[in-house]
């Protein structure tokens, strides 16, 4: 099912939860809403589901206007962060419940319940009550119930947030596969940039009730069209600094100087903002050298994460391998100039071409 928001906004009392938004989701695609708490992810989902009526604008499903059509009359399934199951029903009856409501014949219900239980590795638990399951199994039951309905639109609101990270890793791997076969349009809300990248598909970055940017996940990550979009899609935070442009050269602080790509050399001289992702700022290597004072270093097995103050900016370096530092130590870091993102005075991305 294609879903389209046309100039949709949502105000509750004096507060604007969603500013005027246009967003068009293609049928059968996996879509991610990425943003921090209160960025508008849940409000946007409730609007899409018909749980919330927009203050202005229209909601279209395929080619019909469904603004104001309540959720019961739409083909929608929703899964929440908290595991919601019927506590007195067995896993089997939980999964079967939407089919019973729809009045399907018993044999058909049985066939579907078993198929989805198998897909979600719940077959051995079909006779148990939700209470007797682990968190992961409870959430898989909720997912199976959403899947079995065969809804055209499936909304998943941070469904893995309450699970152990290893389980999260496994379900993240499986989720896009499960939905790929059903043909449903999926919308998945998360506050974790890495999760968005793992799930792939399309991503809408959200900030303060606005869709900042929407497109293929890897494109949105690599080509954020504004500083705001880059910030939403970066954890640890993207490193930023003001540079001084003179002709074809860029200067950061006293010593770091490099040559700009040709397309930028023609821009007016003055101040610009650069963005460098933490994994492009390395303790060894080639490129532009910057010096700073190390504030804290964390080693997480394969990676070293170092917070460093460079020319008055709090930057983060995320490098493979083990690099040890002392608090307050001065050290050099390097970035390749062609990995830099450049933003103008209005914080919009400048296209870089040679």
């Amino acid at each position: 099912m294609a879903i389209e928001l046309r100039k949709v906004s949502l105000r509750v009392g004096a507060e604007t939860h969603i500013h005027e938004t246009d967003l068009s989701l293609q049928p059968g695609e996996f879509n991610i809403l990425l943003g921090t708490t209160l960025s508008g992810k849940t409000s946007l989902m409730r609007l899409m589901a018909g749980l919330e009526k927009p203050t202005s604008g229209e909601l279209w499903a395929n080619d019909s206007n469904v603004t104001g059509v309540p959720v019961q009359k739409r083909s929608v399934a929703m899964v929440y962060q908290a595991f919601i199951n019927y506590p007195s029903f067995s896993v089997y009856d939980n999964i079967a419940s939407p089919l019973k409501v729809a009045g399907l014949p018993k044999a058909q219900i049985d066939e579907k319940v078993r198929r989805f239980a198998d897909l979600l590795q719940l077959t051995p638990m079909l006779q148990r009550l939700p209470d007797e399951l682990s968190g992961g199994q409870q959430q898989r039951t909720a997912l199976a119930r959403a899947l079995v309905k065969g809804a055209d639109l499936v909304l998943l609101d941070e469904p893995l947030a309450n699970l152990d990270y290893k389980l999260r890793e496994e379900l993240r791997d499986e989720l896009p596969k499960m939905f790929a076969d059903t043909g449903a349009t999926v919308v998945y809300a998360t506050s974790e940039p890495l999760e968005a990248l793992m799930l792939g598909g399309y991503t809408a970055t959200l900030n303060e009730g606005r869709v900042v940017q929407f497109g293929k996940t890897s494109t949105i990550y690599r080509q954020p069209h504004s500083l705001e979009a880059a910030r939403v899609f970066s954890d640890p935070p993207i490193n930023t600094a003001t540079i001084e442009k003179r002709g074809s050269s860029a200067q950061l602080g006293e010593t770091a100087k490099w040559k700009l790509p040709r397309s930028l050399a023609d821009m007016p001289d003055g101040r610009y903002t650069i963005g460098i992702r933490p994994h492009h700022l390395l303790p060894t290597g080639k490129g532009v050298k910057v010096d700073g004072e190390v504030q804290i270093a964390e080693i997480s097995g394969s990676e070293s994460i170092v917070r460093v103050n460079i020319e008055g900016n709090n930057w983060v370096s995320e490098a493979h391998g083990i690099h040890s530092y002392k608090f307050g130590e001065r050290s050099s870091f390097y970035f390749e100039a062609d990995r830099c993102l450049y933003f103008d005075a209005r914080d919009q991305l400048l296209e870089t071409r040679e």
Partner: protein
């Protein structure tokens, strides 16, 4: 501040009459250094909470003893152990100001008010709460409140240890990172023994000097993040630490060398006689690479994770994950893979076979 020693500690909940006890915590016999930053890491049900409760005194172990700086404390209640605790959810008095919340543990112990003020200001400074000291706690966000909980844990100078039980659960990912750094920095500044319980590897590895990995009621390895990554002593450690976890593949031995998929693999492993057991090799996805000759595979999936790619390949029915650089090309025709011998480990019945002795 204290060194913490576990002497043959294990714990079973009382079994039904006539049945043998089932140990929720297998025997642990260890000494944790004074002033160290430790993390207890493992999945739900691994025994980490049982161990934490034994340290805090909420639970008396059924066997063995626990010592703080050589003093037996096994039978002492929590209140006499001089321990500060920070829980998963903020414990804050909403009607009090931030200042009074932080001062609470000190005033409780009749500390003179001038000292209370000095100490509260110090801690508030460390946690960036100085501006808000006169504000009521009720008006703060979840992470603001959790900062107060952290502050209350840190405010007493006379504690033996500070225990943190999944303290960052309620914090937004963007802020988790900041609080984690803050906590690490605080540990470096005040040097109290800190014990941090979590199921999240990132939190454990970034916070701790030593990570205690628990699995199925037992401690499987205690090590620095680097040791856990480079030399996982148990296949569970390899799987649990790292994302994706270590590849664990069935193998046989030929004259002491592991054989996988009819390929004799180069290792630094030498002179092992074949002594039975279930044999597996462990190799992390970071140390599998494409090569001109090696094990032939089919490519199942490529995930672009921005800073690197995760490639899932298959040899017959065996899936293998590999992590390669963001710009690295993926061979189109008849790909083959190679395992870096420096990072290839041999496991017998899930435990690493140390080089040189079987």
């Amino acid at each position: 501040m204290s060194q913490i020693e576990f002497s043959n500690v294990r714990h079973a909940y009382p079994p039904p009459a006539g049945q043998a006890p089932v140990y929720a915590l297998q025997e642990i016999d260890q000494v944790w250094d004074d002033g160290g930053a430790y993390a207890l890491l493992g999945p739900s049900g691994c025994g980490k909470t049982t161990l934490l409760n034994i340290i805090s005194g909420l639970l008396t172990p059924s066997e063995g003893s626990i010592l703080f700086d050589g003093q037996e404390v096994t039978a002492l209640p929590t209140t006499e152990r001089h321990i500060a605790q920070v829980f998963q959810f903020p414990v804050v008095y909403d009607t009090m100001t931030v200042f009074d919340n932080l001062a609470f543990p000190l005033r409780n112990r009749q500390m003179p008010e001038a000292q209370v003020t000095r100490r509260v200001n110090e801690i508030a400074e460390m946690l960036d709460l100085s501006e808000r000291l006169q504000q009521r706690a009720a008006g703060l966000t979840a992470d603001g409140k959790q900062k107060i909980s952290l502050g209350r844990g840190l405010v007493r100078e006379d504690v033996n240890a500070i225990l943190f039980d999944e303290p960052l659960t309620v914090i937004d990912p963007h802020l988790k990172w900041k609080l984690r750094s803050k906590l690490k920095q605080l540990h470096q500044q005040i040097g109290v023994t800190m014990i941090y319980v979590t199921h999240d590897q990132v939190e454990a590895l970034t916070f701790a000097d030593k990570v205690v990995v628990m699995y199925d009621g037992g401690v499987v390895q205690v090590g620095t993040p680097v040791e856990l990554f480079n030399r996982p002593k148990h296949t569970f450690v390899g799987y649990f630490i790292g994302s994706p976890g270590m590849n664990v593949l069935p193998c046989t031995l030929d004259r002491g060398q592991p054989v996988f998929a009819s390929h004799r693999l180069d290792t630094h492993h030498e002179g092992d006689s074949d002594a039975g057991g279930r044999l597996e090799i462990g190799i992390r996805p970071e140390f599998v690479s494409f090569s001109n000759d090696g094990i032939p595979v089919a490519i199942d999936k490529v995930e672009d994770l921005g800073r690197y790619q995760v490639v899932t390949v298959r040899h017959e029915s065996q899936q293998i994950k590999m992590v390669i650089g963001e710009d690295q090309p993926i061979p189109a025709a008849s790909p083959k893979i190679h395992f870096n011998p420096d990072h290839l480990h041999l496991y017998r019945d899930d435990w690493m076979v140390e080089s040189g002795h079987a």
